[in-house]
């Protein structure tokens, strides 16, 4: 039987929010094709506890592969299990998240199967029984509509774009045989270092509070961190290229063509004038708020709401009001 494959990403035994989004995207495609969603969840012992959750988000069947060798992600091990699964089940479409794990794994699976692959998909349609994907290029300066050659179509979807929906149905859970030997792997994850306080990543956060040169000094980013904290675990701090190049913030926070392209629900551009490569990286945000002292700044042309004025007065007030609200 055919079906749509959905990769349910977990880390340290915890299912990641993006797994729900991937299953939701797969559900939409499966409904249009009249087929089923097969979600695969791989991890260390105990990971299978999350299988029911995947059913609620639209998986008809959840295949759980637990192994001590999978306590950490392994590109080689996961590729072997997943490519084998897709072949055996004859899946037409394979959907992964465009996360660091998904973007490492999905191209390997595609290469193993000898088929094409695209990443960062923002919209999926079914046309004449085949899937057609739309994805940004040049960090969103252009969108490409892409069709696939031989089956399966392998792709990764951008986090935050496919809003997870719940489905009353609970999927059936099956066990997947994962007899892999860690000694065969050429690459092993030795250690995972979480950033202080398990910070949300700018690529995944539903709210981003981004700062640019207008912040004047690296110390002033503390103000943005406080604003992000006021959103109680929903917001991450982002940065423009100028401040990353100046060494004020790490590259992992950079939004733009040489950083991350993001699609949060809400994007605050604070003291960012809006260089073309920054605009490209954040224009797919659902709502954009700009705070800048220059009313002519290009950022105001794409912002939904803007406040003109001194950010050093506006941001503390904003933080205070958000705290009251949350």
């Amino acid at each position: 039987m055919a079906g749509i494959f959905a990769f349910a990403e977990s880390r340290d035994g915890e299912l990641r929010k993006v797994a729900h989004e991937v299953v939701t995207a797969a559900r939409t495609v499966a409904d249009a094709m009249g087929t089923e969603v097969h979600a695969v969840l791989l991890g260390g012992p105990g990971t299978g506890a999350h299988a029911a959750e995947l059913g609620q988000h639209g998986a008809d069947k959840v295949f759980v592969g637990e192994s001590g060798a999978f306590a950490h992600y392994s590109a080689e091990g996961f590729t072997t299990v997943i490519a084998g699964f897709i072949k055996e089940h004859g899946c037409d479409v394979a959907i992964f998240p465009a996360t660091s794990m998904g973007k490492d794994l999905a191209p390997r699976v595609a290469a193993r199967l000898g088929v094409g692959y695209v990443s960062e998909v923002t919209s999926l349609e079914v046309e004449g029984g085949s899937v057609v994907a739309t994805r940004p290029e040049y960090s969103g300066k252009v969108f490409a509509r892409v069709s696939f050659g031989e089956k399966p179509a392998v792709l990764s979807v951008r986090p935050n774009v496919f809003t997870a929906t719940e489905n009353a149905k609970a999927g059936a859970v099956e066990t997947l045989d994962v007899s892999v030997n860690e000694a065969d792997f050429g690459a092993i994850v030795r250690e995972i270092k979480a950033a202080a306080g398990e910070k949300l990543d700018v690529g995944e956060a539903p709210i981003i509070v981004s700062g640019g040169r207008g912040l004047k000094e690296p110390e002033n980013f503390k103000m943005l961190e406080e604003l992000a904290d006021a959103f109680k675990g929903k917001a991450a701090v982002g940065a423009s290229r100028a401040v990353v190049d100046a060494g004020w913030r790490p590259h992992s926070e950079q939004v733009g063509q040489t950083g991350k392209t993001v699609a949060p629900t809400l994007y605050f551009a604070i003291g960012i004038s809006g260089a073309i490569q920054h605009l490209a990286g954040m224009r797919t945000s659902r709502f954009i708020v700009a705070i800048n002292k220059d009313p002519e700044a290009p950022i105001f042309k794409i912002a939904d709401y803007g406040i003109v004025g001194d950010l050093f007065q506006i941001v503390p007030r904003l933080t205070e009001e958000v705290r009251k609200m949350m």
Binding site: A75, E76, T99, S100, K103, D104, L105, P107, R108, A110, A111, G114, V115, G116, Y117, V118, S119, E120, P136, Y138, K141, V142, F143, A144, R145, V146, S147, F148, G186, A187, V189, R190, E191, I192, K193, A195, D201, H251, T261, L266, A275, I276, Q277, T284, R286, F287, V289, P295, K301, I302, D304, Y305, G306, I307, V308, G309, D310, I314, R317, E321
Partner: protein
Amino acid sequence: MKSLVCVKRVPDTETRIRIGGDGTTVETAGVKYVLNPYDEFAVEAALKHKEAAGQGDVTVLSVGGSESAETLRTALAMGADAAVLLKSDRPLEGLAVARVIADEAKGREFDLLLFGMKAVDDDLSAVGPMVAELLGIPAATAVTEFSVEGGKVTAQCEIEGGSEVIELKIPCALTLTKGAYEPRYASLKGIMAAKKKPLEEKAVQGAPDGVTVQKRTYPAERAAGRIVGEGPDAVPELLRLLRQEAKVL
């Protein structure tokens, strides 16, 4: 230590991208091209590790039209020893590029196969892991820094909300992102020397495309926004709009 570094010629990030009249291609006329910024990290990393070891060589490789020779010269001017241009008379998509690179790499001896984490044109982030898979070697992606010791590479990789340390057997593939390797500028001496370095050209036949772009479009115009007000007094109104109109809070 022998490194093979794959590089790509891409439009400068400041470029405004224009779609061609056919609706599928991107205009190339008048566009300034550069060595892909992420590939610069890969070239720099290869040079640094060669210098630290006091031996080895760095070969840069590109798949593209004849104009990609210019990009390879840039890498040679930075300090790479030799270059190979796998010349295709048509643009190739990800899997086709990966196959061409893998075929070339099979005929060469290398310890490290380095890539930029992504190219800033197609934003695919796929060719590195695909080549690793086709060659059956381990890989790590989004590497910010790595060390080489006793036949092993230890790589620091960027992941959501932190980093991870991956140990890889050599030969292996790494895709580089911004981190410890600050790309050097080519010196005048380097530029002069680059002219004399070997740049081999080989014609390649790409395999059929795994994916096809049917159409390219510009992103939907965002409706002109609204200035809510000036100064901190506009904050309550902004939050009201976000809650009641945008319904995002």
